[in-house]
């Protein structure tokens, strides 16, 4: 069997690798000229945080996320399992209580334990939650590693190619093009996200830190080289061209509230992207003729892509059906 994967974001590359590892002849087509140039994956946080996501997501996301963590560990050496730390400023203690009530798989921490985990945050927060089994990765390094691994398996990623109008004869197509598939998946919508990359040498964190806030919850993810990713906004918008001043202020204020040292950080990059989502913010594998669409990963791309890729490969190779991510009849899900 020969399969064409369209789109070299995290969904496309995980699907391609899953298929290639199972001995399928795969090629990947990517419309942009280089890896990540038009993928919202490039701007992701890269948090592997299934249990934190329970706060506002369907339990399905936690299940898919928990299944995906071992996949990353086996294939990307940069996958770190250092847990997630969740904190709130004193006046937002109610948010921490509510977060704890809706999630699971964590330990409550007092001030001294927070200091032991993240010495640079010593004395800043009196209570927190520690999700020990969660992880994080650098999305750009991870995409690069997946592309390299595909190369080793003889899979070509052909850049600068749009999806063909018709699927090539004798080939199955796995379409992972996010919002670009909207013409076919009319119930997709865009949710804009904005992020900052800051560089600060004076502070180090070993794990993602989520700072709860009633209006502007923000996370800070440490990256190599003194970089910190601060994200991410969620705005109902199909256009992701620029960051708004308000978002920038909110992201920076949150980083500053986490630690005032961020006031001295260098702003290395401002990124925006548009995530593709269905109305319930849950992913779908949807078949139209010879094409299998893998879409609607919303803000959970790195978290759930491997679990979806496994299912996608089982659908393509064995015709299996996964009711949790496949609609019986796509029209039922369509909003009037």
């Amino acid at each position: 069997m020969r399969v064409t994967v369209i789109g070299a974001g995290v969904a496309g590359l995980t699907c391609a690798l899953e298929l290639a590892e199972r001995g399928v002849a795969v090629e990947v087509l990517e419309r942009s000229a280089q890896l990540g140039a038009s993928a919202c994956s490039w701007f992701a946080g890269g948090m592997l945080a299934p249990w934190c996501e329970l706060e506002s997501s369907d339990p399905l996301i936690a299940r898919l996320g928990a299944q995906s963590i071992p996949w990353w560990r086996e294939r990307f050496a940069g996958t770190l399992i250092n847990g997630t730390l969740v904190v709130a400023n004193g006046r937002d203690a109610a948010d921490l209580t509510q977060f704890a009530a809706r999630t699971g798989h964590f330990e409550p921490l007092a001030s001294a334990e927070i200091a032991a985990l993240e010495p640079d945050l010593a004395g800043r927060f009196s209570q927190g939650l520690y999700f020990r089994d969660e992880g994080h990765l650098d999305p750009r390094a991870a995409l690069t590693a997946l592309a390299a691994r595909l190369g080793e398996l003889g899979v070509a990623i052909r850049y600068g190619l749009e999806a063909p109008a018709r699927s090539p004869a004798g080939r199955q197509v796995v379409d992972c093009t996010g919002l670009a598939a909207r013409g076919q998946l009319t119930d997709l919508r865009g949710v804009k996200g904005e992020m900052l990359l800051l560089r600060l040498r004076e502070l180090s964190l070993s794990r993602p830190v989520r700072l709860l806030h009633p209006r502007v919850p923000v996370y800070v993810v440490p990256r190599p080289d003194g970089l910190f990713m601060v994200g991410a906004t969620m705005i109902e918008s199909d256009q992701g061209t620029r960051i708004s001043a308000r978002s920038m202020l909110e992201l920076l204020s949150a980083a500053y509230a986490l630690h005032p040292a961020f006031g001295e950080a260098e702003i290395v990059e401002i990124g925006t992207g548009v995530r593709a989502a269905f109305a319930d913010n849950l992913p779908r594998l949807r078949r139209h003729g010879e094409t299998l669409y893998v879409n609607g990963l919303y803000r959970h791309g790195f978290l759930i892509a491997p679990a979806l890729a496994r299912r996608a490969a089982d659908v393509v190779l064995h015709g299996r059906h996964f009711p949790e991510v496949m609609d019986a009849d796509p029209r039922q899900r369509r909003l009037a």
Partner: protein
């Protein structure tokens, strides 16, 4: 029936549309609440006129009346231009007017509010001003042309219920004929029931439903509370008193003595 600017509504529960886990959950909550009016933040949701088409089409698909708001506006000018944008996007003269004066509590700037209300009413808008329980501000808003008032119960999202009971009952008593909708600060259904019992015409709920563990179930609970509170108001509650008032005569019964 509740009448707002000539529109008759069966439901006295208005919903905000922000901060739901997903549009599908929002849809389920609107159905469960049997709400007929949903507010939409033009600014916060999209950051632009044409940007959030996906979300707007979901909102339109709800089949309810849209009450666009000017959330996030801090000046008269911003609020007025956001109102104009909303009129174009949603094709309605209704506008829930918010002019925020203080970012921490999201307390309305009542000075800017009255000014923006005057401008918008003169321009044909039907203005729903988000205000405090202040009587003089209420007078000014009515003089500006508003025919509905939306006093806060407590700061937006605080979930504290009716914070200033005295001020709110005074407002109700002063303006017996003006539709009064408690706009912010409601945390649980009993707060909403209380507002209706006190004679407020409706409540607008966002955070308390959107951020609940199960928003659709919470929406249904609010719908019941609002119905109960309204029915209680119409039924004429008894006055509280300091001493027990036996409901059957007790003098001379076997237990006395």
């Amino acid at each position: 029936m509740l009448e707002l600017y000539g529109t008759s509504l069966r439901s006295r529960l208005l919903l905000g549309s922000a901060r739901y886990p997903s549009p599908a959950v929002l849809t389920a909550a609107v159905r469960a609440a049997r709400a007929e009016v949903v507010t939409v933040a033009l600014r916060r949701e999209s950051g632009g006129e044409r940007a959030g088409q996906g979300f707007w089409s979901i909102i339109r698909g709800l089949g309810v009346r849209v009450l666009p708001n000017t959330a996030g506006c801090h000046s008269v000018k911003e609020a007025v231009s956001t109102a104009h944008m909303a009129r174009e996007v949603f094709g309605t003269p209704w506008i829930k007017l918010e002019v925020i004066g203080e970012d921490d509590t999201l307390q309305p700037d009542v000075f800017g509010l009255t000014e923006a209300a005057r401008i918008l009413c003169a321009d044909g808008f039907e203005v729903f001003p988000y205000t405090t329980e202040d009587l003089v501000v209420a007078e000014r808003l009515l003089a500006a042309g508003c025919r509905v008032l939306m006093p806060w119960g407590a700061p937006i999202g605080s979930g504290r219920g009716l914070n200033n009971l005295f001020g709110l009952t005074a407002l109700r008593a002063h303006f017996p004929a003006v539709p009064l909708i408690i706009d912010a600060g409601i945390g649980v259904p009993s707060h909403a029931a209380r507002a209706l019992e006190l004679g407020f015409d409706a409540v607008l709920i966002n955070t308390a439903i959107a951020q609940a563990g199960d928003p659709a179930q919470m929406a249904a609970a609010f719908a019941q509370a609002v119905e109960a509170g309204r029915a209680a108001r119409l039924a004429g509650p008894i006055e509280p008193r300091d001493l027990a008032a036996p409901s059957t005569p007790v003098i001379g019964t076997a237990f006395r003595g």
